[in-house]
Each structure stands twice: as C-alpha cells, then as structure tokens.
Symmetry: C2
Subunit: 333 residues, 2 copies
C-alpha cells in the first residue's frame, strides 16, 4: 500500500480511502490512486483489514459429516448465499462427536469468524453449551432445539407434517403395525419420533420404534431387529438417509421386496429413492434451501437485525414402495 501511495504521490490514508469507497475523495485523487493500484497490481491484504476493522467476513460452519449428501447440500446452499454476501466459509466436521463441536466453536472464535452455522452432534451437550455461551457470536442452529441460555437463530424442518402424512398413508393402505427406525439426541430424530407416535395413536396403529445413531450400520441392525421381532411390522419408516442405505441392504439380502412383502418409507430424498425398483416413498425437504435460509438468517443477524426461527416444510412423496400389507412372514420363511 505504501508503494501505491508513493507511486501516486499521495498518503497511504488516501489510498485506503479510495479503495474502501470513502465519500470524500476528489475524482482526481481517485484516478491517480486507481492508476497506481492498477500498475502495481496491488491487492489489499484481507488479514490486515480484518484485524483493523474487527470483522473477518468469514463464517464458521460445523457439521457432523460432510460426506452425507444431506449435509453436502445444506453446505452448498449456505456457501452460495454467504459468498454472494461477500463472506467466506470455514468448514469443519465434528465426526458426530460433541467434544469436537465444542473444540471447533472455540477455534472459530479464536479465528474471529463473524458468525457460526452449526449442525450439532448432540443437543444439550454440556461442553458445547459452555463453548457457545462464551463465544458470544451471531449463531444459527440447523434443525436443533433451542439451546439453554444461548441466543441463536434457528432454521427448522417441519418433520411433523411429512411424518404424519406418511403414517396416514400407511394407515389408509391398511397397515396396523408400523416400524420406525430413528436417530437420537437431535431434533430431527425427536420430532420424527413424536410425530410418529402421535400419528400412530391418532390412527390406532401399533408403532414399533427402534432408536440408534444415524449410521448405515444402525439402519441395518435395527431393520434386522424389526424383521426378526415376533410380530414383524408390515411397514417400515426409516428416519435418515444413511440408515436407509443400511435398511435397503438388509432387505435386499433377505429377499424382502418393497411394496410386495413390506411397505417402506425413507426420509430425505437421495437419488436411490426415485431410481429404486420399486421407487421408494419418502418424506422430502429442500436441503439447499435449508442451507440457504440458515445463511440468510445469519446474515440478518450480522446486520444486527432481530430474527426469529424459520420453519421449512417437509412433504410426503408416495411411491410404489408402499402398498397394502402382505404376507411378509411367508417370504421370510
């Protein structure tokens, strides 16, 4: 910057003013500075700017697992929105470990990011709450319950609507006993579970629930458990896209045919659902939009605006994987 100033024959402060669009600069000044900038190919150092301006134009995004297509889409939606607003995104993953959530929050704080978007591994984790309450930074939570003592904006999915419609669909097809495999410890799991139980009660269905992590392995294991139960459900709802992979693998291995032997509903649309034969019914939501809105909320907070929570819809998409109940038991034998 000094070189630019010398070349233009002005003070450094003038260069700064021109480049940061200060109102009081003569056209002549601007011209000379810009010429010098151009000639030297000068680019301001954002690091120094950040130090001085006390803002980094960067935000930190903590997610449990980037390689999960669900999060990949959320991240993409958020990154695009943030970038359009001039922010860069620092991305890290917690590998499902709350301790890492906390560590990453603290690290991002030390890096002085302007805000945080979090998809926490566990709600109500002591260490995470601690870290968060200390950092005092605009924060957006993705589909999590409010954190005690933390003022964070939230973007939520209305899991209830999709789940209720899914159960209704099964009830209308004549199912009386329905299995649910679902995660734990975070809102998407608890909401799906609550909605499932209520919908089953309302329709007089017997709901059989298996809980676990959101992993492929859990999906496989709990599906096996449901199949091997004395009273096998005639329909299955799987509350997570990774779990669904596990469930489908197990069903295929056992020769259980969707629609014919068992009805099947997944959550979160991934390519396999529409390509599968038969195509798989799902509770769908717009993941890019989820990420985009999270970024939007954060940007609003960064501008100092008050923000409430935003709820995004989910939608049940019926497909041929659901059919009237059949004699699964026979197939299994």
């Amino acid at each position: 910057m000094r070189e630019v100033a010398e070349l233009a024959g002005v003070a450094m402060s003038s260069v700064s003013r021109v480049l940061s669009g200060h109102p009081d600069v003569s056209p002549r000044m601007r011209e000379r500075v810009l010429a010098a900038v151009d000639e030297l190919g000068y680019k301001p150092d954002l690091l120094a700017q950040s130090l001085r301006r006390r803002e980094t134009l960067s935000i930190g995004f903590v997610v449990a697992d980037i390689s999960n297509p669900l999060f990949a889409e959320i991240v993409m939606g958020a990154e695009r929105e943030l970038r359009a607003a001039g922010y860069s995104m620092l991305l890290t993953h917690s590998e499902g470990d709350p301790a890492q959530d906390a560590a990453h929050i603290r690290l991002f704080d030390q890096r002085r990011v302007d805000g945080l978007i979090l998809s926490l591994a566990r709600e109500a984790d002591r260490e995470t709450l601690d870290a968060l309450s200390r950092v005092e930074m605009p924060t957006v939570l993705i589909d999590r319950e409010p954190l005690e003592g933390i003022d964070a904006a939230r973007v939520l999915s209305d899991h209830r609507t999709g789940m209720t419609a899914a159960v209704a669909h099964l009830a209308e097809l004549g199912h009386r006993r329905v299995g649910l495999v679902v995660g734990r410890a975070v809102r998407p799991a608890t909401e799906r579970l609550k909605a499932f139980r209520e919908a089953c009660a309302a329709r007089g269905l017997e709901g059989v629930v298996r809980e676990g992590t959101f992993s492929v392995e859990t999906g496989a294991r709990e599906t096996v458990a449901l199949l091997d139960a004395p009273e096998t459900p005639t329909a299955l709802i799987i509350g997570g896209n990774q779990m669904m992979i596990g469930a489908l693998t197990v069903l295929a291995e056992r020769g259980v045919e969707l629609g014919r032997d068992i009805s099947f509903i997944g959550c979160d649309d991934i390519p396999v659902t529409s390509l599968y034969r038969p195509p798989i019914a799902v509770v769908r939501r717009d993941n890019h939009e989820l990420g985009r809105v999270a970024a939007e909320l954060l940007l609003a907070r960064l501008r100092g605006e008050a923000t409430g929570d935003i709820v995004l819809p989910t939608e049940f998409v019926p497909r041929p994987s659901c059919a009237p109940p059949a004699r699964l038991q026979e197939t299994l034998r």
Copy 2:
C-alpha cells in the same frame, strides 16, 4: 494479552514467549503467566498471529460442486487430514465456472491462505492459469493435467486400469458395440475416453462415444441419443456419478432392464449402484483417500518438501448389470 501481562506482572513479550513455547523461559515465569492466562481465560487472537507470523494456518479448497457426493467425500478426506495438522479449510465452489475458479483463487490469495487444493472446472483456462501463476502458493491439483507454467503437486486417479478392465469384461461377455457417455475438459474425462478407445481398439470393439458436461441432464440426453442411434450399443459405460443418475432414469422410463436388455457400467461408486436391482457394475476409487492424499501432498509442500504426483488406483467391480448382449431392439419396440 496486555491484561495477562499486567496480572502476571511481566512484559507482553514474555507472555508471548510462554504461549508460543519459546525455549528460554524460566519455570517460574511460565507458571505465573499460565496462571494469569487461566484466570483471565485469555485466548490468543489467531488473526493477529497470522498477520505477524505471516501464515494463516488455513488452506483454500475450490471445488465445482460440493453437493456431488464424489466431491463431498474428497472434501471430507482432505478436511480431516488438514485439521489434524492444525489447518482450517476455507471451502468454496465454482459452480463449474472457470471464471469463478480464478476469482476464488484470487480471493483466497488475498485472505493469505497458506495453500490451495483445487478441483478445477476446466483445465487450461486462460484466466485460471493467470490467477494461479500470480499467486505463487503451494498448490495441489485434484485429478487434473499439469497446468502450463504452474508448479503444482497432483493427486491422480488411474482411470485407465478400471476402464480397461471394464471394457475387457464387456468384451468377454461377447459385446461388440459399446457406448460411452463421458465428460469434457478435465482429466477424468479425457483419461476415461482415451482408455476406452484404446481398450476398444485392442479388443476389436466398436466404441460409440457421447461427450458433454458431467450433469444429470447430459447423462440422460446422451443415453437417449445412444438408445435412439441406428445401431444401438449392447452395453453402456457412464463416466460420472451424476450422469449415471440421468442414464438410469432414462433407462427405467423406457423399460430397458439392466443386464437383460443392456449391460451397464457406472463410474464412481455411490449407494445406488450396490442397491440397484440388478446391482450395477462400477469403476470404483477411494474418494476419501483422494482427498486425504491431496491434503498430505499440500502439507508436505508447506513443510518445504519436494513432492511428485501421486496416482491412486481404480478398480472395476463386476456386478449383474453386465451380462451377455441381448436383443435390446426388441425391448425398445
């Protein structure tokens, strides 16, 4: 930091020395400083450190499309490795636009990242090369041809082996005319194409090639083109996971059954391939590893070590989507 110094009754420089593990500090000094640090909950400002130390401990990752599970896994592998080494990752996507590649490279330069990992939208793009030659920063290219005048390390996939095995498999099944749908302008596409042509020549097969972008739409469109050609191939290789989605959709719509009516091979294993019925043969590679090695190469460069290119294997996985050629024409009518 000043407060810490005052509380401990020492100079700021001493605080700095203690915290950055300088050898010449008395145990007493260290103790007093650490006590003060603890009491005040002081955390060094990484921004100021970066400015002073002239390194940000951050790297920039530019990718065309994060929501593609292929890249999501690569990103994950890289992020984990970088994080373990104390680096944070700035992630952005180019949306397949070379101009954005260049813009992001320049932005990351201004942010003073210590290094770059790039999955460029297009090789040999003038603007990208320009940006890259100016920035002068340790750089790793993911599966791209060497860039003229740019000294970058590269991590590559050995597409040839997998593709050659795929074609051989089809030849052995008795196929004589094989279609390939493939991308453009980047190494994975050109390597697959070259290997395909050579393998076809070596086996005396007729290879029919359709090129386009790596999108779902291209996959669908070019598959239609191949099906509607006067001489329909009896086997199809699709060179990209997004394209494969498009191809499978089209085939399902037309009632073309894999294995029975046409043989089908995908590239890049995604869940749908093993779950599909029949399971789909693929040319597979380890994407996490690809990302991990990219990070490893970059870290080596950051330590000042010379690094060559690293080639990772691909593997053909035969599955029932491939079978001896059949009377596809009859099905289409």
